[in-house]
Symmetry: C2
Subunit: 254 residues, 2 copies
Amino acid sequence: MSEKFIQSVDRAIDILELFSLAQQELSVKEISDRLQLSKSTVHGLIKTLEHRGYLEQKPTDQKYKLGLRLFELGNLVGSGMELRNLAYPIIQELVAKLQETVHLVVLDKDEVVYVEKVEGPAALRMYSMLGKRAPMYCTGVGKALFAYLDEATVDRILQEAEMTAFTPFTLTDPDAIKQELGKIREQGYAIDDEEIEIGLKCVAAPIFNHEGKVIASISCAGPKHRFSDDKMATFIHEVKQAALAVSRRFGYRG
Amino acid sequence: MSEKFIQSVDRAIDILELFSLAQQELSVKEISDRLQLSKSTVHGLIKTLEHRGYLEQKPTDQKYKLGLRLFELGNLVGSGMELRNLAYPIIQELVAKLQETVHLVVLDKDEVVYVEKVEGPAALRMYSMLGKRAPMYCTGVGKALFAYLDEATVDRILQEAEMTAFTPFTLTDPDAIKQELGKIREQGYAIDDEEIEIGLKCVAAPIFNHEGKVIASISCAGPKHRFSDDKMATFIHEVKQAALAVSRRFGYRG
DNA sequence: AATGGCGTTCGATAATATCGAACGAACAGG
DNA sequence: CCTGTTCGTTCGATATTATCGAACGCCATT
């Protein structure tokens, strides 16, 4: 007895999480079908969420979409992140130097989450979205973080994650990945060369806290042709320096 | 009988909304005290929210803070906003031209909500935060929007809103405000000259949709001394042009 | 050791979320 | 102009489920 969690809250969250960029509006019927709940149950939950601004009903077709209150709360979380605030000026400087887009990610539930992005000036840009999640094993930022986790965690994640070969260059063999992580630790940076998307290259480096624990990573990413060999040396150096600068702000002594 | 809304969902939302930039972490006790609920009730709700990633418990002191999932959902809302996507390139261009920070707001529940911000290069910046709310009557963006609402709505808002004089220049008299709104309609733009904060000046213009209904507004804002008379003409012209360009993307024929 | 404060767990109870059925509006097709 | 369907919404009975107070165990302080 006593289900651990509050059913109606769980269901309300289920409703919110049905929405996505590809599915920006849903009807009561669609929601009740997908969650296998009665229309009236869903209706009650929806009306509560709507009343609080977490859902909005479009007047035209009565469908529902996510409400502005989520935007407000989400930005509150973003603004409150110490990491973002400490890293932001350093990231801006890095973009100014490299003229390429820089990302900041944190680890959450065995994935990376993009928490900051500053775009470079070039018209051809990497598509990314704050709040987006990506796997550890095939992104620059992911690997830079991954390489500095303790071995038990690495093994667990490698075992649990289902590895997809997004491109012919994606590493999906656990042993190959572990070897790659060793190389990253030696070098102090990670490279993603078309491992998640053809044409996309990036250089990433880890960020540590005062205990020397990895907590985040940054990367500079762009189209492969702008990452020529002679530029790479600069990119690597600057990204490493920037990551170190952020780490220092966290009290890291390296 | 049949309370209109689902109690536990409402309470879960109450919990989330207790958090703010000033209050980034709360204990179970603090939450149960503030909401006047038993610790066990609050605990159940919290654990549900935590399990779903909407709250996180800090290992150090067991207090709770907002979770990354809110960041994700909030950014999903932001990315899904048609207005933002249509307006973004125009806003970027405007910032490049004027070298001042540009904001985009929408109307929600009789207030304006900041949904986009692109900062100018100057070191001295206006503080603002995406998702933040501000009153209609004393901000440039607010007045630009306000001026084009139907009169009944204007009257209702003027009656319901409690007007605070943030500075000696804030208009708080309903009649004075209505007169100002008329002037704005004549000119097609609004100016906020230290009405919400001393030293802060801004120029704002409304954005309309295909029906000619006002749906948003943009502004260019900065420290008063950078808004000299000779620059103002340019600022006004460019902000109006940019707002019109966004309106056109919405099918507005003006 | 003893105390107080806290997060957490437990179980009984009553409140409350849930479901199915039914209503009314909007729409499509004959 | 009806008829049938679909969907959002409302309602009331029912039993599930959220709620509360009490108690536990942990930690820090005295």
